[in-house]
């Protein structure tokens, strides 16, 4: 298995530093799930998508939410089909065969013959009990269905879990993963992202906006602008060829944040003019 290089990532539009890549490579090499934690909007899900693109893996996504359970995540029996077959067929010996099984993302990823990447998104939103359900597939690469027995998958998949850290994940889950903390990008990386995604931006402008955004993130804001928000803001500014305070709503989504931003920019300009 070949290690990924920064160039591979950059080709598909993901800019990062070597430390991140080392962790990803280690996780792939050891064949262990990767747990990515960090604030919202730092590119956790996007990293998974990019990896599936580069490594040519089929992306299977499980979006977690409160109250998610086995039926939605692993498998479910198709009751209606079972009922119908009881009524039509005389032979009802094997009602729990594979044809009556509805595969949900986890089982789908396990049994898929194509190489795949299983993305378990925002695991912290699911209940604590749900984590226990994941342990078997994370550690042993297998799922047990009482009526059918144990299904073991091939080692052809990468598993990525993301979390926004709204809840303490259990130690049992953490133990089985490799940990990566993803923070907001620095100026260098933000610049590269802007150059890559925004059409018609010059390098000078990219540096200018990148440092402005770093400055904004450093203020004592209620909601720190995410990477996507900053890109959209710059996109619009480049398109309309002006930077006005009216379109600030793209970047900052809180009234008191607007005020703070305007005040500090004014303060900054004043001190410059002196």
């Amino acid at each position: 298995m070949e290690d990924l290089s920064l160039k591979d990532l950059q080709k598909s539009g993901y800019f990062a530093d070597q430390a991140l890549l080392d962790v990803v490579n280690a996780a792939r090499f050891l064949n262990k799930p990767l747990l990515i934690e960090g604030p919202a909007g730092t590119g956790k899900t996007f990293l998974a998508k990019t990896l599936s693109g580069i490594l040519n893996l089929e992306l299977i996504r499980l979006q977690c939410h409160e109250g998610i359970d086995e039926d939605r995540a692993v498998y479910e029996w198709n009751y209606k089909k079972q009922l119908l077959s009881i009524q039509t067929k005389s032979d009802t010996s094997n009602l729990f065969a594979e044809e009556y099984l509805i595969k949900r993302p986890l089982l789908k990823a396990l049994t898929s013959e194509v190489d795949n990447l299983l993305l378990i998104d925002e695991i912290d939103r699911a209940d604590e009990e749900f984590e226990a359900l994941l342990l078997e597939i994370l550690a042993e690469n297998q799922i047990t269905i009482p009526e059918m027995g144990t299904i073991t998958g091939e080692e052809n998949k990468v598993i990525i879990l993301t979390s926004n850290n709204t809840r303490e994940l259990s130690d049992a889950l953490r133990r089985r993963c490799i940990y990566l903390y993803l923070d907001f990008p620095n100026i260098e990386i933000e610049k590269k992202v802007l150059m890559n995604t925004v059409e018609g931006i010059s390098e000078d402008e990219a540096i200018k906006y990148a440092s402005l955004i770093a400055f904004v993130r450093n203020l004592n804001l209620n909601k720190i602008p995410s990477l996507i928000e900053s890109i959209e803001w710059v996109k619009f500014n480049i398109f309309s060829k002006s930077q006005t305070d009216e379109n600030l709503g793209i970047l900052l989504k809180d009234k008191s944040d607007h005020k703070l931003y305007l005040e500090s920019m004014e303060h900054f300009n004043e001190s410059n003019n002196k």
């Binding site: 530093d17 430390a19 991140l20 080392d22 962790v23 280690a26 090499f29 050891l30 262990k32 747990l35 934690e37 009751y79 209606k80 009922l83 209940d127 604590e128 850290n165 709204t166 809840r167 303490e168 994940l169 130690d171 953490r174 133990r175 993963c177 490799i178 940990y179 903390y181 993803l182 923070d183 907001f184 990008p185 620095n186 100026i187 260098e188 990386i189 000078d204 540096i207 200018k208 440092s211 402005l212 770093a214 400055f215 450093n218 004592n220 804001l221 209620n222 809180d254 008191s256 900054f268 410059n272």
Partner: protein, 453 residues
């Protein structure tokens, strides 16, 4: 040179001494990776040690400091660059550029030399005077030399957009230098310990175990954010618990209707939501002078909980209880400190903490019955009496009482501390002086046991 297994064992023993446990399984994973990848250099090995061992952000930070202590090797974190190098520095000031590049590479010697220089030469400091370390820092900040240094940033000729980056660099530099100076001051004062310092004022290296009282501004910002998250986590725990116990009797009509989809067989049972009294949670925080910084952490915890869940009630008190749940819900996270500037609103008579009156008032205002009460306070009552009746009333009003005391337990019941009286009726009394203790407390709360009616 490579990292030998022997040395790894020594390192994990070293970690164990510093209250950081490395599981055998994790070391195994690391060794497996090391052998298969044939990591030769020591640096690489340490780097992967750091990548593969920790399982959350806090342990990552702890491990980082331990590695620095043991191997004297600085790990570059993701997005670690503290300073952004811009081209304009090259034309203007080579000395500044060198300094910034040095610090980015993890070389802090020059910074330390500067802070020692500032402490030794500029002010005639008598460190035995019983004032806080921050007082000396402010003295140094006023000195000419300190300001001259930051003029280096101001005197550069720059194009407009680099100004922002320059500003960021300057702020960062200021933070780093202040921290370094503060460290040196603490070191210096510890040398003269006999005059003033009790032993517990020694600087702790790990932030988690550092007392709230002795954190500097930057550390406090970080810890307050984490405390807010803890409050949110406790609220979510509470919310989930309530949802769990919400299932009522069978909802017959909807179950039958649902079963028609599958030809009359009951594949899914539907239950009525049970309407019952929600368990009540009340939190009370002492914000009087003796609590100092601890009350800031207390109120941040309240904020985290209240903003997430409506039926939690928050009170603060000095010499009379005031409900602030509504106020907390209206303000934003970065406005919490402003509450303390409205100190006058909470003072009802003389401004010294009075547990007797405050708790009496709380019993009157709080309309919950048989709820749970969490008190954050040091129980120092300024030599006022606490009556037996109050203790009885409290015991009757609340089913369970948790008491978080920010003082060291050996100082409880000394002087005007009345901890003993409350301890008798408390369900649990804990000492919380730092983040680690707070986290452990919240982790251990078993809401099922505590709140079930």
């Amino acid at each position: 040179m490579s990292l030998t297994t022997n040395e790894l064992a020594k390192f994990s023993a070293f970690c164990k001494d510093n209250n950081f446990h490395i599981p055998v399984e994790s070391s195994e994973i690391f060794l497996k990776y090391k052998i298969q990848k044939d990591l030769n250099s020591l640096e690489d090995s340490i780097k992967y040690l750091y990548y593969l061992l920790p399982k959350d952000y806090e342990s990552q930070q702890t491990l980082k400091s331990l590695i620095y202590k043991y191997f004297h090797y600085v790990i570059e974190d993701l997005n670690s660059a503290t300073f952004y190098i811009i081209d304009e520095y090259q034309n203007n000031n080579e000395k500044l550029l060198e300094l910034l590049e040095d610090i980015n590479l993890g070389n802090l010697e020059e910074l330390e030399r500067m802070s020692v220089d500032l402490i030794m030469n500029d002010i005639d400091a008598d460190f035995t005077r019983p004032v806080s370390d921050l007082y000396w820092l402010n003295q140094i900040k006023k000195s000419k030399k300190y300001q001259e240094f930051f003029d280096m940033f101001n005197n550069l000729e720059m194009s407009n957009f680099s100004e922002l980056t320059n500003q960021l660099n300057k702020e960062n530099m200021q933070r780093l230098l202040d921290n370094s100076i503060l460290e040196k001051i603490i070191e210096e004062r510890n040398k003269q310990k006999t005059a003033y310092k009790p032993s517990e004022l020694e600087p702790r290296t790990q932030l988690n175990e550092k007392d709230f009282l002795f954190t500097n501004q930057e550390e406090r910002k970080l810890l307050l954010e984490q405390t807010y998250q803890l409050g949110k986590k406790l609220a979510i725990k509470y919310k989930r618990f309530i949802k769990d116990s919400n299932k009522g009797n069978l909802f017959f009509r909807r179950t039958i209707r649902k079963s028609l989809e599958s030809g009359g067989s009951f594949e899914k049972l539907i239950f009525k939501p049970r309407i019952k009294k929600k368990p009540k949670l009340t939190i009370l925080c002492d914000i009087s002078g003796s609590m100092a910084l601890n009350s800031l952490f207390g109120v941040t915890l309240l904020y985290g909980m209240v903003s997430k869940f409506k039926s939690i009630k928050a009170f603060v008190f000095i010499d009379g209880a005031t409900e602030i749940s509504k106020t907390l819900r209206l303000i934003k996270k970065n406005e919490i400190e402003k509450i303390f500037s409205r100190w006058g609103d909470f003072v009802k008579s003389d401004g010294h903490s009075d547990y007797q009156t405050s708790l009496q008032e709380l019993i009157k205002i709080d309309n919950s019955e048989k709820g749970t009460l969490i008190v954050i306070g040091d129980a120092r009552n300024n030599y006022r009496n606490i009556s037996e009746d109050l203790i009885e009333d409290l015991d009757e009003k609340y089913k369970k009482i948790f008491w978080i005391n920010p003082e060291q337990s050996k100082y409880w019941n000394t002087g005007d501390s009345q901890m003993k009286k409350f301890e008798e009726i408390n369900y649990k009394t804990v000492e919380v002086r730092n983040y680690k203790q707070l986290k452990d407390f919240i982790k251990e709360i078993d809401l099922k046991k505590v709140l079930s009616l």
